[in-house]
Each structure stands twice: as C-alpha cells, then as structure tokens.
C-alpha cells in the first residue's frame, strides 16, 4: 500500500497538493486562529477568482498559446458585472456573452492567420482595459445581489470557497482530462499535426479553448466582485501573471498540452496562501515585497528537492 503510494509518478502528481498542505500547516502554526471556518474563509475566499483565472489561462496554454490579457479581461467583466448586469441584467448578460464571443473569435484569428498569441492578447489587454474604463470610468458600481448571495453562502463544515474550488477543479478535470473530446483538445496542444491528420478541425479546438477561457475569465470577474461588492477597471491586472504562475505551480507546462486542472486550482490557492503566510510573519515593510519572491522560490525549490530525490531512486 505504502509502496504504491510512493511511486515517482504519484509523488510528482501529488507535489502541488503537498506544497499546499505544508503551507497551510505553517500558517496554522503561526496563526492558530486561521484554523476555523471563519479563518479559512478569510484566508481562501479571494483564491476562488484567481483559481478561475488560472483555469482560463490553462485553457489557453493547453493549445500552446499564452494569454497576456486575462487580467484586464477580468477587470472588464467586473466592470460590466457591477454596472450593466446590476442595472439592466439583460444588457449585462448580452455584453458578457459578447466578451466570450470575442475570445472565441481571437482563437479563430490566431489559428487562421497563424499569429503569435502573445502579441494578440497583449493588444487585447489594452482593448479590455479601455473598454472597462468606458464602462466604468471611475471605480464604483454595485454587485448584483444574487452574486453577492452566492459568494457569501454559508455552507456546512467548510467555507463555500473550498467547495467551489474543488468543484471547479473536478469539473474541468473531467472535461479536459477524462472526456473523449477533452483528449482531442489536449492532443491539439501535444501534436496539432497529428490531430488534424486524424480528421479533427484545429480551428474548432482553438475556438473551443479560447471560448472556455473567456467563460472562466467571466466567472473569475463575477466571483471577484461578489467578494469586493463593487468594481474597478484596474482591479485584476495582476491576475495575468498570477494565472500563469498558478498553471506552472500546478504542474502544467507552457507547450505540449501537458496540463493539470486540479493542479492549477491548487497552484492558485498556493499563491494566495503564500502571500498570507508572509503577512503572518510580520516582516519589515522594506522586505515584504522581496519575501513574496522568496516564498515562491521556496515553494518551487521544495519541488526541485522532491524531483531530485525521485530521480535518484
């Protein structure tokens, strides 16, 4: 039993979860108050929007592209969510659907013209931010009550965030890793030529993945304003880098369709917890920023140590 648990492949897959556990234990040690329903909620509720953004980024990375605009896009969704969706729900819903359609169109454009996605999404990051500023020139707006209600749901035993994060991870895992079309989608990242030679449309896979990214980006924006109650065009610019880091922390790779949805969710949580861990350490302000780098390095170095131990076996 133990022997089967300690196989290299298992260790490698369990690594993200292991890092998360260690971090969580360290936080509990530093701040026992965190070990409660209330504490866990405070620690983790902002991880949910990051997890959604990370999943969105992962969809794009699956087909060997990269989205430098996801942060700005989440900001736009937040702006729409706190204004139109609240005041004129139909218009708001239509606008959000429109955003997803634009994402799908980006996928098509990138595929048909064989463009580098980095440039296109970089350009789109300006467009999203500009649109957000038009929708919401100064911060404000109000989140629709139903979103607020969902995000503040009192669930039994564990906070809503944790259920939601597990739910997202599992659903996307089934969609991409277990379903039969998911295989084709990942295959399109692994060897596009082989997939098209098997008679699949690469255009369709690209469009699907980009539309999915748009969808999860939308969930990210909406869940975010559910927590903040109002919006700001600049609210999530940082999500671009965070989401990339989350995918990689979770064991994904930039090219080749090697991804892990559950790992990505765990990666997003690890990033959130890492920042909290630091504030519990009460470092001098000068070094607080540097420590964020330090903790990322530590978490990843931990992986390197395990990987090396595994290689030696």
């Amino acid at each position: 039993m133990i022997a089967t648990l300690l196989t290299p492949r298992f260790l490698r897959n369990a690594l993200p979860a292991l890092s998360l556990t260690v971090l969580l234990l360290a936080i509990f040690y530093l701040q026992p108050r965190a070990m409660s329903y209330f504490g866990l909620n405070l620690l983790l509720n902002l991880a949910l929007p990051i997890a959604f953004a990370t999943i969105a980024q992962m969809c794009i990375i699956t087909v060997n592209d990269l989205d430098l605009g996801v942060g700005a896009y989440v900001g736009l969704v937040a702006a729409i969510g706190a204004t139109w969706l609240n005041e004129t729900p139909l218009l708001g819903a239509a606008a959000l659907l429109g955003c997803i359609a634009v994402y799908a169109a980006l996928g098509a454009l990138i595929h048909l013209r064989n463009l580098p996605s980095i440039v296109v999404t970089l350009g789109m990051s300006f467009v999203w931010l500009g649109l957000a500023l038009l929708v919401l020139p100064t911060p404000g707006g109000k989140v629709p009550d139903w979103i607020r209600a969902i995000m503040t749901l009192k669930t039994p035993f564990l906070p809503f965030t944790i259920y939601a994060a597990i739910g997202v991870g599992v659903i996307v895992h089934f969609g991409l890793m277990r379903s039969s079309y998911g295989v084709v989608l990942r295959g399109a990242g692994g060897n596009p030529r082989s997939v098209s030679r098997a008679g699949w449309s690469l255009l369709r896979t690209k469009v699907t993945m980009f539309a999915l990214a748009g969808f999860f980006g939308m969930l990210s924006g909406l869940s975010l304003i559910g927590l903040t109650t109002s919006a700001d065009a600049n609210i999530a610019l940082r999500y671009t880098l965070l989401s990339i880091a989350g995918v990689i922390l979770g064991g994904g790779e930039f090219v080749g369709g090697r991804i892990s949805p559950i790992g990505a969710v765990i990666g997003a949580m690890t990033l959130t917890l890492a920042a909290s861990f630091l504030s519990f350490l009460r470092l001098p302000p000068d070094w607080q920023i540097g420590a964020q780098g330090g903790i990322l390095i530590l978490v990843l170095a931990f992986r390197a140590v395990i990987n090396r131990a595994e290689a030696r076996r």
């Binding site: 039969s180 295989v183 990942r186 295959g187 692994g190 060897n191 030679r197 098997a198 008679g199 080749g256």
Partner: protein
C-alpha cells in the same frame, strides 16, 4: 482494365510541385483489395508525397483521385480518406506525446466516445498491439512521450490497423520498420500478410528491399517523381530492383572483409560501462575501429550513446578521449533544427572551425555545405532551402554530413540509416570505412543485421547491460538473437 473496376483507389496523372522541385510527375497508381503494394525509390523520389496525396494531407496540383470507381478529387481531405477506410502511418511519427497510448487511439477514432470510452479505447489498442506485436510490453496507460521511438512506432502502426466504425481497408505504411529491430519488423510483415489475406490492402514503403520483396504482391518503383516500373514482386529480385531504382548495386563490397584487430596498439579511445550494469564486459573502442551496438530496440543502446556523448572528457565509468559527434536517429527530437536551412543544419557542429576574426565565415559555411552535398548526395536545388523541404532520407543524410564534417574523432551513431535508400547506404558505408581507415572511431547502434557486418566489434545489449562482446568473425545472426533473448552464461 478489370482491376480498376474493383480498385480501392486509383490515382490518375497526379502532379505536385514544391517551388522548383517537381515532386510528382504524372503519377498513376492503383491499389486493389487483398494486395500489398510495395513502393520503393531513392530518397526524394516522391514516395511520401504520393502517399500524402492519397491520405488527403497534401492537395495535388493536378490529377484525379478515384475511390472505388467514384471520382473524389474535389474537396478530397483527410476526412474523406478516413471515411473511405484509408489510413496512413506517416514517415515522421505523428502521435500526441502528451497523451497516453489509449488516448492516442481515441484521437484516431471518433466512435470512441460516451460512457466507458477509456476502457474501450484501451481494449481496442491493446487488441491490435497484441495481434501485430505479441509481447510488445506496452501498457495502454503509458504516456507516449515516455516511450522509446520503437514503441511509439509500434503504437502508431497498431492504431492505424485498429477498426471501430470506420474501416481500415487500405493502410499506408511509410517506412514502418525504420526504427524497429529485426524481430519486431518481422512480426509486422507477417501481420501485413495476414491483413491482405483477409481482404485488406496495404502500401508498404521501405528501403529494406528484402522486406518489400518478401511481403509485397506488386512493386511500384519511383524515380525522380515518376513511376518507372510496376511489376509483380516475384518478377523482381534484389538486383533488378536496385537497377530499376537507378542505383548501382554494389552489394556488400568491403563488408565482411577479413577481420584484423586494431586493438593491439595504443590505449582505447573509448571505454565505458552502461550506467545500470554491475558486471560483464565494458564497451571499448580504439582508433580506427567500427564498433556495433546490437540487441533488440530499446534495450539501452541509445542510452549508452547519450552517456558517451555526455561524458566529455571523462566520468567515473566512462572514458572518452577526443572530440565526439552524434548522428541522431530520432531526427525530429534529437537532430533537426526546423527553422534553419540545410546548410545551417550541416555546419552547426563545426561553426567553431569556420571562424574568421572571431566571426562565422559565411563563405566557408557555404563551401562546407556544398562539399558535403556532393559527397553524400543530398537532393535539393539549393542548400539554402529549409531543412524540412527535404525528404526524410535526405534529412538523415544532412545529419550524417553534420557529424562527418566535424572535427570529431569519435562518431556516435544512433541507428543512423533510418530511411536512407540503398544506393546512399552503400555510399555511406564506404565513407564510414574510409574515415575509420583514417583513424576515426565509430560507435554504431543499428537495428539492421546487415550493418553489423561492417563492424569490427559488436556489443549486444539486453535490459540496459552488455551481455555479449563479439568480434566481427564471431558475429552471426543466430548468435546475436541468442544473446538478445537469453541471459549470457
């Protein structure tokens, strides 16, 4: 012609140009059910291009594609081909390395969906693997990228023969045995015969003429983009086939010449022990020696070469004296720089010696490239063309040129003749012998029995260890097989 009426496919007057290259020149081809069609020709003759047309991955400039008597030229795509039961194992392997074996089967089969598809996909691919390659040792949940190239090739072949709702009436095999060892290759050829006996059809492309002669019913010979001969296989023999291809048969000259040990004088250039091996013979190679690595594919020969390449100058169990160059066998992952020209791909190993005033001398580079184009016969109008514009065999020649042109005293070769045509092979064997005579050392992993006859010494690998050390005189097929399968006593 009556055969045209019940043919699976008929190509009429197919033309294909790539820029200045006339890859296919009014080619006609017929494949009928129940036959294995052999397709041979020199490197760059147009075989793969023709098969790409047939499989729908390349659109011909002109000509008709007739499927079961119906003209399907317009809008002919991969999907059309698949629908009509035409499958292709391409020369450059095309599996998704990030997916498992079973998932790769799913990519091929639209019908594998719905509840329990994973189980069905695994069963499907394992059934075909078991049938074609008994004892293959591949699990359906293995990630393809973790498999050796031989196993990847086996998976791809099995996948092409697997049947769900779409039939596999015509399976095209473009150099399927290039990375397989003799035992596995024979399994495949036996299966091909069973397949056609059951009413299926195959196109078999190979540079191992023996395979084609023994397996095909009819043989089509191509030369410079045109079909030059179509005859029953029994009407050909090796010599007439080589002649038809336009090469001069110089069979076996030099090979099997009297063995004279070169080990008497001097210390060895290379001495090494496979990483996992505790006891048994070390691998040793002296200046001017050609040392063969044998055994079944995937038993550690490539690892040995990598170990030698990484050990410059020396590590504990590995001593390598002198500069080293490697000729990759898995050219896509280990050899080719896909964005560079042919010339750039050849000179990269030698750029340090092409410097003038610390800068790379473009003229010297061109000079080296064209010199080796001549010596090794790379078929291209311009060495500045992209490397991927070459046919598979010609790419391999470019990799050969890269290593031979370098200053290396020790050349490591990882089954380097994959996809090289007969005529060129003879040419390369000659170069190897000449270079060895000049004092270069060759360490040569090969999956072809015939090539071991060129070696002074042969080490047989099994399970990552050397199990036998044979001199040229001792090398026989029987001995090799024995060592490959049985523990060495």
């Amino acid at each position: 012609m009556s055969e045209a009426d019940h043919s699976i496919v008929r190509l009429d007057g197919v033309e294909k140009h790539f820029g200045a290259v006339h890859a296919l020149n009014t080619v006609d081809l017929v494949v009928t059910p129940g036959e294995c069609l052999g397709l041979v020709g020199h490197n760059g003759a147009g075989k793969s291009t023709l098969m790409n047309v047939l499989a729908g991955t390349q659109i011909p400039d002109q000509g008709r594609i007739v499927i079961r008597g119906i003209d399907s030229t317009d809008g002919y795509t991969v999907a059309t081909a698949k629908q009509h039961g035409i499958r292709c194992v391409f020369q450059e392997l095309s599996l998704c390395p990030n997916l498992t074996v079973a998932e790769n089967a799913r990519v091929m089969h639209r019908a594998l969906t719905g509840f329990g598809w994973r189980r069905r996909a695994a069963a499907l691919i394992l059934r075909d693997l078991d049938e074609i390659f008994p004892g293959h040792g591949i699990a359906s949940q293995e990630i393809v990228g973790d498999l050796s190239i031989a196993k990847r090739q086996m998976v791809e072949i099995a996948r092409a023969f697997s049947v769900t709702d779409a039939p596999a009436d015509l399976v095209i095999l473009d150099e399927p045995t290039s990375s397989l060892d003799a035992v596995v290759a024979q399994q495949l050829l036996t299966f091909v015969r069973r397949h056609v006996a059951a009413g299926g059809a195959c196109v078999l492309i190979s540079h191992l003429l023996g395979e084609v002669l023994s397996t095909a019913d009819r043989i089509v010979v191509m030369r410079d983009g045109a079909v030059v001969e179509v005859r029953k296989a029994s009407d050909f023999d090796r010599d007439s086939l080589v002649t038809a291809m336009g090469s001069v048969a110089k069979d076996g000259d030099g090979a099997g010449a009297a063995y004279a040990s070169k080990r008497a004088d001097g210390s060895p250039k290379v001495r090494a022990r496979p990483a996992g091996q505790v006891e048994g013979p070390d691998l040793t190679a002296h200046a001017g020696e050609i040392v063969g690595l044998a055994g079944l594919a995937g038993h550690g020969q490539t690892d040995m070469l990598i170990q030698l390449h990484a050990a410059r100058p020396s590590t504990r169990h590995t001593h390598v004296h002198g500069p080293v160059a490697l000729v990759a066998g898995d050219r896509q992952t280990d050899g080719i720089f896909p964005l560079w020209s042919i010339a750039g791909n050849i000179t990269i190993r030698s750029i340090r010696h092409l410097l003038r005033h610390a800068l790379i001398d473009a003229a010297a580079e061109r000079e080296m490239a064209s010199q080796w184009q001549q010596r090794i016969g790379i078929r291209t109008p311009d060495m500045e063309n992209n490397i991927l514009s070459l046919s598979g065999g010609n790419q391999q020649k470019a990799l050969f040129a890269r290593a031979l042109a370098s200053d290396a005293e020790i050349l490591l070769m990882d089954d380097p003749m994959r996809g090289v045509d007969v005529g060129t092979k003879q040419e390369v064997y000659r170069i190897i012998r000449d270079e060895a005579a000049n004092g270069r050392t060759f360490i040569w992993y090969t999956t072809e029995m015939d090539e071991l006859k060129h070696c002074d010494h042969v080490y047989v690998f099994r399970d990552g260890a050397i199990v036998a050390d044979l001199t040229r005189r001792e090398v026989t097929e029987e001995k090799l097989l024995h060592a490959s399968f049985e523990a060495a006593e």
